[in-house]
């Protein structure tokens, strides 16, 4: 099957979703990121790989962390970065998505980093373009591939090997593109035990088909886990009565020190941010010794640098 993310030589041309990517490409991204992590100890933290290239950060949906880390990543690669908050510009005047893209392409963009509330928008843009690379920075409920990769990087950093791990993903899996991307990464990298833990109303139907085990009981779900990933309760995406109240949710699924004690002693706690303290996670856990939440943010820069550097390096190779 033709994968729109790959060029005719099997190299990565766009990063739209983790699904369907070969293991070697994921491992290569994580290995390259490791080299970028080591830059942070230097006097000059930049490398010249994307010198003279223009990266357009196209955010059709608000974001602070992801947009900022993409911006830092592009700047550390020496690219010129243009941030566009499209909500407040042409689209509100009625311009179509692809017209916006054509205009930006005419300004000699080399790469688009796209976040959009509609699943599939980055695919549409990637199909439309012939020269530029597209990175999906989160589309609707579909995918957030760089988040999945930075989660995998953080897990690998602490646990080395995926082949014996139990990973529990707790909370609002239904609305979470983070969860979907992470599940795909973990599967491709050979994680034997991936669990989705949460109330039935927040777990997608047939999620078992993604290769995860489903738990509606929090205690059973995180028992003996190596990694606990708590997801943000996405109030802005909730429609209808999926939950009685955030307080009720915390009672049953909030990650407290008592519950975390059920996981392995050396289990790490992750969260994609932003945190709802006292809703999905207790402050004592979020700020506790097992939390690697802020490390995820730092690693996120290196992982995004790796993705952009690998994509930019495929530019001419595809045409040759």
């Amino acid at each position: 099957m033709n994968n729109p993310q790959l060029n005719d030589r099997g190299g990565l041309r766009h990063l739209l979703t983790i699904e369907g990517l070969p293991r070697e490409i994921l491992v290569n991204i994580l290995d390259t990121a490791r080299s970028f992590v080591s830059l942070s100890g230097r006097e000059v933290k930049k490398v010249p790989l994307l010198r003279g290239k223009s990266v357009f950060n196209l955010f059709f949906e608000p974001s602070t962390r992801t947009r900022t880390t993409f911006e830092i990543a592009a700047k550390r690669l020496s690219a010129d970065v243009i941030n566009l908050n499209v909500q407040s510009s042409s689209q509100t005047k009625g311009e179509t998505l692809l017209d916006t893209i054509d205009n930006l392409a005419a300004m000699h963009a080399d790469m688009f980093v796209v976040r959009h509330s509609q699943s599939g928008a980055p695919h549409l843009i990637a199909r439309h373009l012939t020269r530029q690379n597209v990175v999906n920075a989160g589309d609707g409920r579909h995918a957030h591939p760089t988040q999945g990769l930075l989660d995998a990087y953080t897990i690998r950093h602490h646990k080395k090997d995926f082949s014996k791990l139990s990973v529990a993903i707790v909370g609002d899996v239904l609305h979470s593109r983070v969860a979907r991307s992470l599940i795909h990464v973990l599967n491709i990298l050979g994680t034997p035990d991936v669990r989705a833990v949460g109330p039935r109303t927040l777990l997608p139907t047939e999620i078992e088909r993604l290769g995860v085990r489903v738990y509606t009981d929090m205690a059973a779900g995180i028992r003996d886990c190596d990694v606990v990933v708590t997801l943000r309760l996405q109030n802005e995406r909730m429609q209808g009565p999926l939950l009685p109240s955030p307080q009720e949710y915390f009672k049953s699924y909030g990650l407290t020190p008592e519950r975390l004690a059920l996981a392995k002693k050396d289990a790490i706690v992750m969260h994609p941010g932003p945190l709802n303290r006292g809703v999905e996670i207790d402050s004592a856990v979020a700020d506790g010794p097992q939390s690697v939440i802020l490390q995820q943010v730092t690693f996120g820069i290196a992982v995004r640098m790796a993705v952009m550097a690998i994509l930019a390096g495929q530019g001419k190779a595809g045409a040759a």
Binding site: S38, E43, V47, L49, A309, I310
Partner: protein
């Protein structure tokens, strides 16, 4: 394309003899305070042995330089880069930059650019096991184990056996070139 195959020499020099010659040149002239940095992969191997033999005080550094290469646009990043590590202060220090085989000079150029992002060295001396000529940049070694005659385009590599002994050989790409011709 039907380019004639280059002539390969029947015998390559003994890498261990080149190593001994290199050490003989370095020993009387190198300060124990100098910092040493090897370029992956062969240069780093060579630097490991030189560093030990010369008894340098500062720990050994390793540069990958992939992120500084000028062929990035054509070739992209090579898979499996390894993190660069320079575990000493570069600012104001005399540096021995070590590579296995000097050819176009482009790798050395990339490595020097990377090194300067750690600080401003007082001096950089280039140390190579073998010089095969074919320079495309004004870069020359200060210490060199010896010259080798190798046809343009051939891929010459340093190898190391389990006892850390060195040898020179042509890469498998030579066979591919033959098959194409």
């Amino acid at each position: 394309m039907n380019t004639p195959l280059p002539e390969y020499p029947d015998a390559l020099p003994e890498a261990e003899a080149l190593f001994e010659e290199l050490l003989r040149q370095l020993k009387p002239r190198v300060s124990h305070a100098a910092g040493m940095v090897g370029i992956v992969t062969g240069g780093a191997w060579l630097a490991e042995r030189l560093h030990a033999a010369l008894g340098l005080r500062a720990p050994l550094g390793v540069l990958d330089a992939s992120f500084y290469r000028d062929d990035f646009v054509e070739k992209g990043i090579k898979p499996h880069t390894s993190p660069s590590q320079v575990p000493f202060e570069v600012q104001g220090r005399e540096i021995l930059l070590v590579d296995d085989i000097l050819y176009t000079g482009r790798t050395v150029r990339a490595a020097m650019n990377e090194l300067f992002d750690y600080g401003r060295p007082a001096r950089i001396d280039l140390v190579v096991l073998a010089d095969r000529g074919g320079r495309e940049l004004p870069i020359e070694p200060v210490y060199c184990g010896g010259k080798v005659n190798v046809p343009k385009g051939a891929i010459l590599m340093l190898e190391r056996d389990p006892s850390n002994a060195f040898s020179l050989r042509f890469s498998a790409a030579r066979r591919e070139r033959k098959a194409q011709a």
